[in-house]
Symmetry: C2
Subunit: 259 residues, 2 copies
């Protein structure tokens, strides 16, 4: 089995080292990861400027390729250019911090895995729910088991798994739950400051506004110390609204009076 | 009616000027748009560096605010900081180039509108299907009619409309269709070049690999000269796979043998 590993915290982050170390026991690993941290870049891709690829040796831990772009760039570059043929699996992580509910939209870690799904390669994103996680080991072990599971249980083309692991010791993990994406969002605040020259600048802060309550929602599962596994895809069509909008008669916009 | 206008081509682009000019006839307009072009940035937000906001006068066409960030940043900044209360509507565009099928994932234009939807403000993204559009006027007129329609027909919270207008004259528009997101993706190619110092760099190119055939798919509608309107949301859960994965018994990953 060949596994392409990427992330959004950068090729230097401890999370990717823990993941590679664990996966090496079961597969050939190719690392293609961002040269610099790329958190919250969403599904950005680099088109207007060129990319560079730098061979990278991490303390003897692994050899890989650093790309001066986004997580989605790394997966495209890895599959289209660096590898001779597509990998069996793409794993992205292990991310510092939860990627549940609305964070799925902003996450670079998830976008790396989603880019793989778009390219019809099975994939998963792995995150630990703390910005300075203490417990990468359990998540790394779980990623290895999941990789073996995904080899036997085929995901539909275009679907990926989003995995969030609570940052607690293995003994404190309550279980593993199949979940749906939550609806919790951020209560954003722009902190206004003055630079040394008296000019205003704004720093995004805020906290998660936690509105989810059902046990099978990603956000709730991790709050209850469960590992959360959510199948996600890239079809954003709101089918329910699609049906309801038949009553809008949008074709009338062709020549409707504007008042 | 108050409308917040943003885009991803930058506050200087002709598309946003055409949109503002048209909307001014029916509403008070607040422009908050990226200082520089931000195509394909996806749903990136800026957290690790601060943002600046610069008042901007465009040839007497409109007054607005330029933000040195992403389209999603502009909408957050506009709603949280610049406006006293949320607008009635957010419109993003008019974009140079189609945002149908997989491009919805990469698009900064769509992400601006989606950020508004996340913030529970009704919104739409408007694109014209050509990278150097000749026909902004019809799209601008349509956006104005759609704004009035959206005032009366409420979208569910969290859902936005993705509008693609063929770049043809008004007479050639075949009609307006309610559509679903297509599955067409890109056949990426990294063009390898050498810099003046003999080092390799890679430029992303490629063409759309058009696999959609049904008449009610965004990609097909615009190919047939129809205006395409797709309701999209930010729940990425693949519910069908969620049901099927009950058979995976993922809880067994807790202590499964690894072979």
């Amino acid at each position: 089995m060949k596994i392409l590993v990427s992330n959004d915290d950068g090729i230097d982050s401890p999370g990717i080292a823990a993941l590679v170390k664990s996966l090496k026991e079961i597969a050939e690993i190719i690392v293609v990861a961002p040269q610099y941290e790329q958190s919250a870049v969403g599904h950005a891709i680099t088109m207007k400027i060129p990319l560079r690829v730098t061979p990278y040796y991490k303390n003897g831990d692994f050899f890989g390729y650093a790309v001066d772009g986004t997580p989605a760039d790394c997966v495209k570059m890895g599959i289209r250019n660096i590898m001779k043929e597509p990998p069996d699996l793409v794993l992205s992580g292990i991310n510092n911090g939860s990627n549940a509910a609305i964070n799925i939209i902003y996450s670079g870690t998830v976008s790396a895995a989603r880019e793989a799904a778009i390219m019809e390669v099975p994939s998963a994103a792995i995150s630990v729910t703390n910005h300075a996680p203490k417990n990468f080991d359990y998540a790394a072990k779980l990623a290895r088991r999941l990789a073996l599971k995904m080899k036997n249980q085929k995901l539909p083309l275009g679907t990926m798994l989003n995995v969030n692991v609570p940052d607690v010791s293995e003994e404190e993990i309550a279980g593993i739950l199949l979940t749906k994406q939550g609806k919790s969002t951020w209560d954003d605040v722009y902190e206004q400051r003055k630079d040394p020259y008296g000019k205003d600048y704004y720093w995004l802060t805020g906290k998660m506004f936690d509105v989810d309550t059902d046990a099978d929602i990603d956000q709730v599962a991790i709050r209850n110390n469960y590992v959360s596994i959510t199948p996600i895809h890239f079809d954003l069509t709101d089918y329910e609204t699609f049906k309801k909008m038949k009553n809008w008669h949008i074709e009338s916009l062709m020549n409707e009076k504007e008042t």
